[in-house]
């Protein structure tokens, strides 16, 4: 009960602002005589979320799969590249300029190439999300692995500890908060990538739904798709925050 009390004390301004915006929106549409295809009222968006002709479950499933796939790919590849960079100066010199080059490419511009190479499907859209989201993971992993106090490394040298042991016992736990903090950015980037991929080439998914509403002028459905996208995005973000809380409780309040 006290926890709930503290929660409501902290978040009532959020709730009030949100309710106020929704109410203003509804009032503006109702009394301002705005046409439905320009700006649908919150209530019709609400209706479109649950009813209407759109088979949400299928689209939601496709997009969620793409987002999770993109996130996992970015996380695994990003951490692996970060470890490689921190492990060996030669690998760092080989990889860093190349990765910086890849990161400066506008990923959206590559999406049509993915269509040519891989056709339609879930995988190219996952790849797009991973491509947008992997870079911060690489950088934060490499930084977290190298930001160890020199005295701590001296301690390792005194005991003649092998390099892998220093990695496992000191460097990797040290990097964990950095990695988790990058994964929060990746969670958002994975959503962007999946939707961009669907915009360019797809037959299913929430991004596909938005594209089709352009021709049908069914704006409330486009809004409903946006709501679903943000629900998936928020859930993934929340999962990463929870993971950080469980895996790196000592870093709480650091970022």
């Amino acid at each position: 009960m006290t926890k709930l009390g503290a929660f409501s004390r902290q978040y009532w301004p959020t709730v009030v602002l949100f309710a106020f915006l929704l109410a203003s929106w509804q009032t503006a549409v109702t009394f301002g005589n705005i046409r439905e295809y320009l700006l649908p009222a919150p209530l019709s968006v609400w209706n479109a979320l649950w009813h209407g002709d759109t088979a949400w479950a299928g689209h939601l499933w496709t997009t969620t799969l793409e987002i999770i796939g993109a996130f996992l790919m970015a996380a695994v590849v990003g951490v692996a590249l970060g470890v490689a960079i921190a492990w060996s100066p030669v690998l760092a010199n080989a990889l860093v300029p190349f990765l910086v080059f890849v990161n400066t490419l506008p990923k959206v511009a590559i999406a049509p190439l993915f269509l040519i190479w891989m056709g339609y499907g879930i995988f190219p859209n996952m790849l797009m999300g991973a491509l947008i989201g992997f870079f911060p993971v690489v950088i934060n992993t490499a930084v977290g692995l190298s930001q160890v106090e020199p005295d701590m490394l001296d301690l390792g040298r005194v005991f003649n500890a092998p390099k892998w042991k220093i990695f496992v016992k000191i460097r990797i736990p040290n990097a964990l908060p950095y990695i988790l903090s990058a994964l929060k950015i990746t969670a958002t980037a994975a959503v962007v990538g999946a939707i961009v991929g669907e915009f360019v080439a797809s037959q299913r998914g929430l991004g596909y739904v938005i594209v089709t509403t352009q021709s049908s002028m069914n704006t409330s459905v486009a809004f409903a798709a946006l709501v679903w996208i943000s629900v998936v995005g928020l859930l993934l973000y929340g999962a990463v925050v929870l993971l950080a809380h469980l895996w790196a409780p000592w870093a709480e309040g650091v970022d």
Binding site: E149, D151, M152, D154, L155, G156, R157, V158, F159, N160, A161, K165, I166, K169, I170, P173, N174, L176, A248, W250, A251
Partner: protein
Amino acid sequence: MNKGLIDLHEVGMTYQAASGPVEALAGISASIGAGEFVSLVGPSGCGKSTLLRIVAGLRPATRGTITVAGRTVTQPIPDIGMVFQAPILLKWRSILENVLLPAELAGKDPAKLRPRAEQLLEMAGLAGFGPKLPRELSGGMQQRAALCRALLLDPPLLLMDEPFGALDAMTRDDMALELLRIWGEKDLAREARKTVLFVTHSIPEAVFLSDRVIVMSARPGRIAADLRIDLPRPRTVELRATEAFGRLNLELFRALTGKTGGGTTL
């Protein structure tokens, strides 16, 4: 040549800076006996921390030879405990796990050393704090845990680099007494005590703790004075108020600032 636990012969160190070579240490010769508590004092940048690391084998000397327990030091030597200015405890490990870290790094079974770790924590006044995370302890308590970590493998040589430098004055004086107690100045015969090389900025701290104080001058670091501290052990708080204590402080202060030649008497 002298036969001490640590023998330094004409040790020098020059490193390359952007502006050219910098001579950090020059012509350091000294012999430190087993069981001796020796402090190194000197101004910032006199190379006293560097000298400590050279003794540990963590930095190479560019000239001269260093032998510890009869062996020439060319790489990190295992039988030492190190304490730094910051406790550098691993944030994600409990205090007990931190104290046991040297066992893991040295490839020993931490489970076997657990009783010793717990005993050390108790001796350092940290009984019951084993399961806590470092951030739950005060700075002084964290530094005590770092001392326990340094003592875990029972090294004959303890190297301490301004270990109390980050603590407030009152905690600092407490820690000095605590260190002497843990070192065993009351319970152990002189030969059974650990050899301690203690780097500090504070002359009173050096006098209070040591059997001998080596004063270093800056740029390049040289030995300006090497003074025996003949104060009775065990040292007590009252000692700080005695005339002998004050006289030694003054003598070291003069050696440090180079005001008179009076500090160079041995």
